[in-house]
């Protein structure tokens, strides 16, 4: 197997809200088409770390994405970099005043990445892939949570991202909806997308991850292959967490 280059390098990332330090000196790398899953107890800093990767949160330290320092990027540069990092949120955050199709085509058209026709064609293809082509003209509020999340994934994919960031994508879903969303994510993983995923779905983590990072108290407490984290690790905090959630 060829060694893929690093697509993201996080170096000494720190974040604090006033006195409250939430991320303490985080460093890790993500290779192209690698699947990295962040797990850990609530309040451990997983979501905050993910949100630092596309600078939705300010931080100190460095995030290098495709050899460019995101932390020092100008506004325009940051926008260009964000276009290549798709993000999927726990609360979906679809635009309620736009149809499903408009949700997906809005950014590519507005940013002059594609023409209206090309964007619509692509959006319909993506909707077909997530099994929602018949909902193109519906408004988000008429969809179930699982459907909304699949549209949100399609919206992020419409930008042709290099990396997809998932922030607890199934945590707000009814249990019977979780499977559909995970299935779409698995398919994306098999197609070679680079993915960084914060999740509580341990089965999914074991199956899809190349690397699992266990975060606790704002630090990377443990990391390694799924086999290592879920079975072999000697770290007592990891073991305790895994035993509670599995």
């Amino acid at each position: 197997m060829t060694v893929e280059p690093n697509i993201i390098e996080v170096k000494n990332l720190k974040k604090a809200y006033g006195e409250n330090v939430v991320l303490k000196d985080i460093s890790f790398t993500v290779k192209k088409s690698e699947k990295v899953v962040l797990i850990g107890p609530s309040g451990g800093g997983k979501s905050t770390l993910l949100r630092c990767l596309n600078r939705l949160e300010d931080f100190s330290g460095q995030v290098i994405f495709e050899n460019q320092d995101l932390s020092a990027a100008s506004k325009e540069k940051l926008r260009a970099l964000r276009q290549k990092m798709g993000m999927v949120f726990q609360q979906f955050n679809l635009f309620p005043h736009k149809t499903v199709l408009e949700n997906i085509t809005f950014a590519p058209i507005k940013l002059k990445i594609s023409s209206l026709q090309a964007a619509q064609k692509k959006a319909l293809d993506l909707l077909e892939q997530v099994g929602l082509k018949n909902k193109a003209n519906a408004y988000p509020q008429s969809l179930s949570g699982g459907q909304q999340q699949r549209v949100a994934i399609a919206r992020a994919l419409a930008m042709d991202p290099e990396v997809m960031l998932f922030d607890e994508p199934t945590s707000a879903l009814d249990p019977e909806m979780v499977g559909d969303v995970l299935q779409v994510m698995e398919k994306l993983a098999t197609e070679g997308m680079t993915m960084i995923i914060v999740t509580h779905e341990m089965g999914f983590a074991q199956e899809v991850a190349d690397k699992v990072i266990f975060m606790d108290q704002g630090q990377i407490a443990d990391s390694g292959s799924p086999a290592y984290i879920f079975k072999e690790t000697a770290n007592p905090r990891t073991k305790e967490f895994i035993s509670k959630v599995m």
Binding site: N93, F106, A107, A138
Partner: protein
Amino acid sequence: MFGFMKQYYPVFLEGTAQTIIISIIGILIGILLGLLFVMMRLSKLKVFEYLARVYIAIVRGTPSMIQVMLIYYTLSKVISVPQVQFLGSGLDRVIPGSIALGINSGAYTAEIFRSGIISISRGQTEAGLSLGLSEKTTMFSIVLPQAVRNILPALGNEFISLIKESSVLFYIGVQEVTAQALGVGGTLYNFVPPLIVAASIYFVLTFLLSQLMQFIEKKMGRKYIQSN
């Protein structure tokens, strides 16, 4: 009781037209200033935020009648508008008057916009930014359209108050409905009937406006739940 209307209805029509025109101009200026000041109020630059707070505090904390007079007497010294008559009033009064209404309304509209913007979840902004959209595009294409839908009832209220408040322009000699009614009352030595006519005119105008706002509200609300 209303027999005088046979003779005086053109005066009331002229006054009504004047009231409608100064109100529309006032509302438009109010919306523009409201947008400008809400952006300043929410700006990261403290100077802008402070200026917007001062503007809002002054306008809300002083009587509109005094504001109108101050703006009229100040503007008339600074810029000279030709003495053209428009619906029975000089443009040198109508223009500063409408601007004053707009400046007054802008403060309230800015606060209404602010309440709408903070009612939209931060996630909407984050979704926009994460797609690589600029902060401006995210605000104007994602947040504001949703905010406006939430604040339509409050905006309707503000527009209705502005129509009624426009009667303060009487003090600077704009011949709007109230001024015309008082004029007719003076001629007749009887103020009650013409004032009832004026009140009815305001009622019809504000009623029609509230119906229009309700229609827009329904129209904007319906599409949100459309399923196909």
